[in-house]
Assembly symmetry: C2
Homo-oligomer: 364 residues x 2
């Protein structure tokens, strides 16, 4: 790698070398031959029957509790339009996924961020707000390897949040796109498993097969999924079944499980390289958590810096960063840097963090 080439530490994208293009071509040919009449016609907005069945089986729900959309962000947008009226309070972790914050605000939500501790949102602050009478309509949570922080929500906090949702009657949107990309430790129960009548779980195949397929899904109580399906139909009639049928075929052939193993093998050394580089170059000057999976290490610089300076200086050093302020709900984030590690080689990661350390030095 040329020392002077630009390195991107911006969005959470998979590396192109991970895309199973040949296998997907086999799947496309197969499903067009087998199900062309269904795939190429209009259809119900919930999605391709074969993939609905697969998701239902895996999640242990009825097919009527599943809807597949064109990526999960689109389903979040439909949820936001369905649940949120102008001025309604919506809770998120603070920091949280920037695109979801945009979706919620556009629907009229007053977004309130609950600060993230090492094991999930600060429950005392959450409880205080609820006890003081605040009534959120939604709480958006990424429990597994959170975006942007990499945090894992602890079992105890999962149970507390599930109980509070039931006690105070708010909906939880549980977003788990990274859950199957676990590089260490063992799975904890999902919020949906703990409170199936209060949780809408969302996930997608973007991080497991390919983002370009745009296949995401939501699982939840039947009446809510029914409402979402009506809203989806009124918005785009139905999503493309071709992509959904390809995902189902990919899974039926056993390629999905194999692909997830390949990704874990690919990403584990990249996470290790990221953690090693942070230790080498930024120890004592920044704090970060060690994620057990996913795409991101969230890092906070100890020095007070301005995000504008940081981004500009980084760019001058051939390093593209995402603005940390975009992940925070109510100001702050100047010193926060999201470090996506999946799309870079260990060597690139080492160079990137060395450059970042130099930039930080220059700002101190």
């Amino acid at each position: 790698m040329a020392a002077e080439s630009m390195i991107k530490l911006t969005r959470g994208v998979p590396p192109a070398e991970s895309f199973p293009a040949d296998k997907l071509a086999v799947c496309a040919a197969e499903v067009l031959a087998q199900h062309g009449d269904i795939i190429l016609q209009y259809g119900p907005s919930r999605g391709f029957p074969g993939l609905l069945a697969l998701i239902a089986q895996e999640t242990g729900v009825a097919e009527s509790q599943v809807i597949i959309g064109q990526g999960s962000l689109q389903l979040q947008d439909l949820c936001a339009r369905m649940f949120v009226e102008a001025g309604d309070v919506v809770y998120t972790e603070d920091p949280s996924y920037d695109r979801t914050l945009t979706v919620l605000r556009r629907a009229g939500a007053r977004v309130v961020g609950i600060p993230l501790d090492d094991d999930g949102p600060n429950i005392e602050m959450l409880q205080n707000r609820l006890q003081a009478g605040e009534r959120p309509v939604l709480f958006y949570i990424i429990p597994d390897f959170q975006n942007p922080s990499g945090t894992l929500l602890s079992l105890e906090k999962r149970q507390r949040i599930a109980a509070l949702a039931q006690q105070y009657g708010f909906w939880v949107i549980e977003d788990v796109p990274y859950r199957k990309l676990r590089y260490a430790g063992v799975d904890l129960p999902t919020l949906f498993e703990l409170a199936p009548d209060r949780v809408i779980q969302m996930s997608s195949f973007s991080k497991l097969i390919s983002p370009g397929l745009r296949v995401g899904f939501a699982v939840g109580p039947e009446p809510v999924i029914g409402q979402l399906a009506k809203m989806a139909e009124d918005t785009y009639i139905n999503p493309s079944y071709l992509n959904q049928a390809m995902v189902a075929e990919f899974a039926h052939r056993g390629w999905l499980d194999a692909q997830i193993e390949v990704l874990k093998q690919l990403y584990t050394p990249r996470l290790q390289a990221m953690l090693a580089a942070l230790e080498t170059y930024l120890s004592g000057r920044a704090d970060w958590r060690t994620p057990q999976g996913g795409f991101f290490v969230g890092m906070t610089l100890r020095a007070e810096v301005s995000a504008d300076d940081l981004l500009r200086r980084a760019r001058e050093a051939n390093l593209l960063l995402t603005d940390g302020r975009g992940f925070f709900t109510d100001g702050g984030g100047d010193c926060f840097v999201r470090l996506p590690f999946c799309a870079l080689t260990p060597a690139e990661i080492d160079v990137a963090i060395a450059r970042l350390a130099q930039v930080v030095d220059g700002l101190a």
Copy 2:
């Protein structure tokens, strides 16, 4: 065909036998091999470069004036959210496409229908409303083989509407999904050609290749398309490029032009069968226009009937109709029947209209 089987005269769907599944499988394999890295990754919300270029070239605009979405209804929804604030007036033809009416109302529009004459909306009524000070933000028009009526907007009215849009500063959404399915007569200029700074033209490949691909597009002034692209990114990041690349490949191989010819050959006798059946069974008891293309004949019964009775009795006679009231903006439509003719064989059409005539007899 069994005399007792149910016949659907509901939505405007193409017949399954028209779907070029084998050719699309070839296209899928080709584009995944050639452009897998781009197709399977996240990308800009405007769409796959190869198809953007093709649409731009065909429409005679810059690529920056094009956005491709997951069907055109979704782009209409984004337009509605962008242009309409609660209470804003939006004009449509009366009757108009029921799904668009839903999209507009959901965005808060006060939908005002301009009654359709044989050659398009009643210009005198349009002009009177504008002169009286009403200020619509949008006028949604389907000029070619209108849904649900089959009407063609005349050249003179196209020119008048283009001039009024410029004079009064409203946007026209011109929806032309059926334009290339012309079975008689010659093309008239589009509204976009007449007033390119005031018109957003929408179309799709749903009626030309397959609805299931969900590939629709909008063409318009660069700033509006830029705003739409931002809103699209904030809603679903990007549409599936796989489907778009397949459409581009299909066109590059010369298969799209050939497919359109095949469809015209298939649909022309179906339209003729529909018109003949109407003449045979409903002459003197209903009025209809003779469309030069598209999917629909719009028919109005002369007798006063209730849509509830009509739909129920039709269903009892194994005939599914769409509720005519859904196409009208302000009541009415009980006696209106949209007759889609593309997905039925001439023999089925004859049986369907014979049944419809019997139902009408029973109601008189």
